[in-house]
């Protein structure tokens, strides 16, 4: 392929290239999840697929909402919603770093012309009961990817270990196109990021900081939590045969709703210190409950005997 370093790829072409790259490496190409999430990790294609022993490879773009990071579209680097490209490789292949670097070459980065390094950065999500070991990948000092070997998810030790690659798409695009403001990124040949997304940034920032009604948002949190807990307890109480029928995946959607509503309340500045820790604990309880039920529900009843 012929790199176009002067202009760089458009935002959408860069995404196509990355998805094609990973599709050619046995990844299922999934679509963004249709529930608000704070990170690509929360997509069930990551959160649930890394559990259990079934090998899996998947890649997808996930628009990720962080209400507290909203800046009304006025900050060149911070966004209410940014786009992550998420790759899960389970189990982690031995040449994963080299393959990842090839993906950078695929979007026009000439590796030996840049200072690319893997610097220690371990990842942790208290609300998901998840953590991993890894790096942030720096490209000439710019953090472009979070590279993580998942160790635990939903409070469960993982085996096999999955590797998670999370590309920060706006940063990489701005770098490739040589622009300092994400809103100046060319999304397609004739549209900029500003034209596509600015109104959304403005309105959701205003909603997150000014308009979201704390009492109603709290009530929504409670409702979603109650529904999720009801599903989890129905699962627990069901007999062995009935267990397969109890819907666990919707319980996870409800858990994601709670997580987003919590972030919203947080950005409204209405959560006290003690309440904050308690709410994180409530979301984590749902996430861990879902993870444990999911593993049980999907694992074959008769596991093959393991001999040393």
């Amino acid at each position: 392929m012929t790199p176009r370093p002067a202009q760089g790829l458009t935002f959408q072409r860069m995404i196509f290239r990355l998805l094609e790259f990973w599709a050619s490496r046995q990844c299922v190409i999934q679509q963004p999840y249709d529930v608000e999430v704070g990170a690509g990790t929360m997509h069930p294609e990551t959160f649930l697929r890394v559990l259990g022993s079934e090998p899996y490879r998947v890649a997808y773009v996930q628009p990720s909402r962080r209400p507290a990071d909203g800046r009304y579209g006025e900050n060149p680097n911070r966004l209410y919603k940014h786009q992550q490209l998420q790759v899960i490789l389970k189990p982690s292949p031995a040449d994963v770093q080299a393959v990842y670097l090839k993906s950078l070459a695929a979007i026009g980065i000439v590796l030996e012309e840049h200072d690319i390094r893997f610097e220690e950065d371990n990842w942790e999500s208290p609300t998901l009961g998840a953590w991993g070991i890894g790096w942030q990948v720096l490209l000439d000092g710019l953090e472009i990817t979070q590279f993580t070997y998942f160790q635990q998810c939903g409070g469960l030790d993982l085996d096999p270990i999955s590797v998670e690659l999370t590309y920060g798409l706006e940063r990489i695009a701005a770098f490739l196109q040589g622009v300092d403001n994400v809103f100046d990124i060319r999304w397609s040949d004739d549209r900029t990021y500003r034209q596509v997304r600015l109104a959304e940034e403005q309105q959701f920032s205003a909603y997150s900081f000014e308009y979201a009604d704390p009492a109603r948002t709290r009530a929504l949190f409670d409702l979603h939590e109650a529904e999720a807990l009801a599903l989890l307890s129905a699962y627990r109480e069901a007999g062995d045969d009935a267990k397969k029928r109890v819907p666990i995946l919707p319980a996870y959607d409800l858990c994601l709703k709670c997580s987003h509503l919590f972030n919203l309340l947080d950005s409204r500045g209405v959560i006290s210190v003690t309440e904050r820790a308690a709410m994180i604990g409530r979301v984590r309880k749902l996430a861990c409950g879902v993870a444990a039920s999911y593993v049980e529900q999907t694992s074959p009843r008769t596991a093959p005997a393991v001999t040393a």
Binding site: N75, N77, D115, R117, E119, L142, D157, D159
Partner: protein
């Protein structure tokens, strides 16, 4: 044929007994700060295992390391373990051989059991008589065989601050810990034992003995003789035959394995860049060490930034460059910051000129962020942040930072009254009130390592007294034994209050450091207290200061009870750090510290003065013999028991009979009078000299007088005399704690 081969082999073995050992662990990027310790640990582990296996023969282990590899070599190790002989003794000679000297059934049985012919039995004389003995020889194993067992163990035993799994164990049953907390259950531990762990995934291993591969597996990686060069500039699969060609081949593949070589390259590059522009690097030893371990082939590039950013405080600019981008700040000749930075890149050069541009772009965004926070934070008064501290938890049981600030104000006020009277109460109170207000600023949220400093800068910019601004700026200091204490007394008081509160609070809620776990950095806080008290020369009763801190806690929340036992525990904790500081920083001997602390150390400054006096007097000729005598006195009294020693008031000078004891009594009275005067005015050196002058009288007493006299009344009187002496003259330092050549 077979014997020929064996003979040939033995001959070869004779000619070559030693060979080179070479070892490299190839790994995905290891966190830079962990590398120096890991390399040292590799050395220690190899030495331990090689020595234990009898292969080391006193040779030295050389180690190197970088982000993608830990390597070790030993010039000459044994290629074969030596045979070991063990002697086993059997029945007594008389039983083993009959009168004619023939072997009996007992001897034959013993020989058969040991697997040796009867003729090879021999007689061993022991203090208990003569016995039959047999020699058993365990043949040594080939080093190659031994090492393939040792090396995986060495790899597994390198301890990392946080290690990981990346591959499944060899069929280890998987067990998961359910529940929200990442608690380790027995099941996960059992599984974990079988799963290899390392700091990052191991991707290749080179293990050579005398040029031959030592074959073994670690985490699905098979050892071999091929290494890999620089990720982007070097080749893969480079053949290695030993330490010599390893270093040179890697060098031509853009990897400098020796940290010293990398450091030299960085230093040379920095110098060259600075000379050109008449500039200086802002010195930063920690950063230099970090970038040395962050790169396999480091090169320095100079970048620029908009001089308009120079109106931000230099502390902020330097922190952004160092902590976030690992750039060196650059100064002009006069010491002010220049609009440049130096980035260390992991390449031979910036071949397309794009790297400099990229780093400049990132720094521009970082500085723009910092400018945004600076402007936004300054729009509100620092003191107005106090209210917001009610939202920031300090520790779940101890409450918020707002609560902590209230306690710090109380403790500060106490300290001003009892240890720092020259301070203004209101200035100290203002500094304590503002000390934590920067925690809710945008700047500290973005750059947490600037806590305190940012508060100080804002306080100054908003017109607070300089004394207050400096105190806020400094109050986290000192973070180590080497760091400066706060510049002014107000800062010292606030720093003490902060640390005392941290210690009392954490002790009260049971967060007492144990082993290496000290999440609240309480050892550092205690060390800080010791350092401030000593260097600022504050006269402070630790006991009372600790009590004041616990009282502040109790007054805020009655659930925290005042507990003398806990206060004592905390005092011992701080004194332990004081011992450490006296040893490390002031190079006092541990017995000098023991002797001084035995006479009390509640007033650390006073203890330091007594320690200095003790060290000075220790070198005089009378001192050590006197210390021996005091030890003797203590032994005699302890041996006699408390019942035999009367109260000092019960001592009756009229009962003294011998001249020597009368003389000792008279001399002691005389010395006590002078010593007390000196001690009163803290002239400890003179007081100790005085006490030392007792030596001849003490010596004569022990020469001439029998302490344990037959008459119980006389005996008790003499013991009481000695006990009085010991008590009287141990108030500066307890001489009996001094380790002397004659002491046992």
């Amino acid at each position: 044929m077979k014997t020929m081969a064996t003979a040939k082999f033995l001959a070869a073995k004779k000619t070559k007994t030693h060979g080179e050992f070479f070892f490299e662990i190839g790994c995905e990027e290891i966190p830079a700060w962990m590398i120096p310790k890991a390399v040292q640990e590799l050395k220690v582990l190899l030495e331990k295992y090689f020595a234990a296996a009898g292969l080391l023969d006193g040779a030295t282990v050389q180690v190197f390391g970088g982000p993608r590899r830990l390597a070790a070599s030993i010039d000459a190790v044994r290629l074969h373990q030596q045979d070991t002989e063990k002697e086993i003794t059997g029945p007594v000679k008389a039983v083993a051989f009959d009168a004619a000297g023939a072997a009996t059934k007992a001897a034959q049985g013993f020989a058969a059991k040991q697997g040796v012919p009867v003729e090879q039995l021999y007689i061993r004389s022991t203090p208990r008589g003569e016995y039959v003995a047999a020699k058993q020889v365990t043949p040594g194993r080939a080093a190659l065989e031994v090492l393939r067992e040792i090396l995986p163990r060495v790899m597994q035993e390198i301890s990392w601050p946080k290690n990981m799994r990346w591959t499944s164990g060899a069929g280890a049953p998987h067990a998961a810990a359910a529940g929200p907390a990442p608690a380790e259950t027995d099941a996960t531990r059992a599984a974990g034992a079988a799963v290899p762990r390392f700091i990052r995934p191991v991707r290749w291993i080179v293990a050579l003995l005398d040029g031959r591969v030592i074959p073994f597996n670690f985490a699905d990686v098979r050892s071999g003789n091929k290494t890999n060069g620089h990720r982007f500039l070097g080749r893969e699969g480079i053949l290695v035959s030993g330490a010599g060609n390893y270093r040179s081949r890697l060098k031509s593949n853009f990897v400098l394995v020796d940290p010293a070589e990398r450091l030299a390259r960085i230093t040379a590059h920095l110098q060259k860049l600075m000379e050109k522009g008449g500039l200086c690097i802002h010195p930063d030893a920690g950063l230099l060490d970090l970038v040395t371990h962050l790169n396999e082939f480091p090169s320095a590039i100079l970048g620029n930034f908009d001089p308009g950013f120079l109106d931000l405080p230099r502390e902020i600019l330097i922190t952004v460059m160092r902590d976030h981008q690992k750039y060196f700040a650059v100064e002009k000749k006069g010491g002010s910051l220049a609009p440049h930075f130096v980035a260390i890149i992991n390449l031979d050069r910036d071949r397309a000129g794009k790297i400099q541009h990229g780093h400049e772009r990132v720094l521009r965004a970082r500085f723009a962020d910092a400018r945004f926070f600076w402007d936004a934070d300054l729009k509100c008064r620092l003191a107005d942040n106090l209210e917001k501290l009610k939202q920031v938890v300090y520790e779940s049981k101890l409450g918020t930072y707002f609560a902590k600030v209230q306690r710090m104000r109380g403790i500060s006020a106490w300290l001003v009254k009892h240890a720092a009277a020259s301070c203004s109460t209101s200035t100290v109170d203002r500094a304590a009130e503002l000390a934590k207000c920067d925690l809710v600023s945008g700047m500290v949220r973005e750059f947490p390592e600037l806590q305190g400093i940012v508060g100080g800068l804002y306080a100054r910019a908003q017109g607070e007294l300089e004394e207050v601004a400096d105190a806020v700026y400094d109050h986290y200091r000192p973070l180590s034994l080497d760091e400066e204490i706060p510049r002014n007394l107000t800062g010292c008081v606030v720093a003490l209050a902060d640390k005392l509160d941290a210690l009392a609070g954490c002790f009260a809620v049971g967060r007492i450091p144990s082993g290496s776990s000290d999440p609240f950095a309480l050892r550092r806080a205690a060390t800080g207290i010791v350092k401030i008290v000593l260097e600022r020369r504050l006269t402070l009763s630790l006991h009372h200061a600790i009590h004041a801190a616990f009282r502040a806690l109790h007054e805020q929340n009655a659930a925290f009870k005042i507990s003398p036992a806990l206060e004592k525990q905390l005092r011992d904790f701080i004194l332990d750090r004081a011992r450490f500081a006296f040893q490390q920083r002031h190079a006092f001997a541990y017995d000098e510290i023991n002797a001084t602390f035995a006479a009390g150390a509640d007033d650390l400054l006073d203890a330091a003065d007594r320690l200095a006096a003790l060290r000075a007097i220790r070198r005089t000729p009378d001192f050590e013999p006197l210390a021996v005598a005091f030890k003797r006195i203590r032994n005699i009294i302890e041996k006699a028991g408390p019942a035999e020693t009367g109260n000092v008031e019960q001592f009756d000078p009229a009962m003294l009979t011998e001249d020597a004891e009368k003389a000792l009594y008279a001399a002691a009275q005389e010395v006590a009078r002078h010593a007390a005067e000196h001690k009163e005015s803290r002239r400890y050196r003179q007081a100790l000299e005085n006490i030392s002058s007792l030596r001849p009288a003490v010596d004569r007493f022990f020469d001439k007088v029998m302490v344990m006299a037959e008459d119980p009344a006389i005996r008790k009187n003499r013991l009481t005399l000695l006990a009085g002496l010991l008590k009287e003259f141990s108030t500066i330092a307890d001489f009996s704690e001094i380790v002397t050549e004659k002491s046992t």
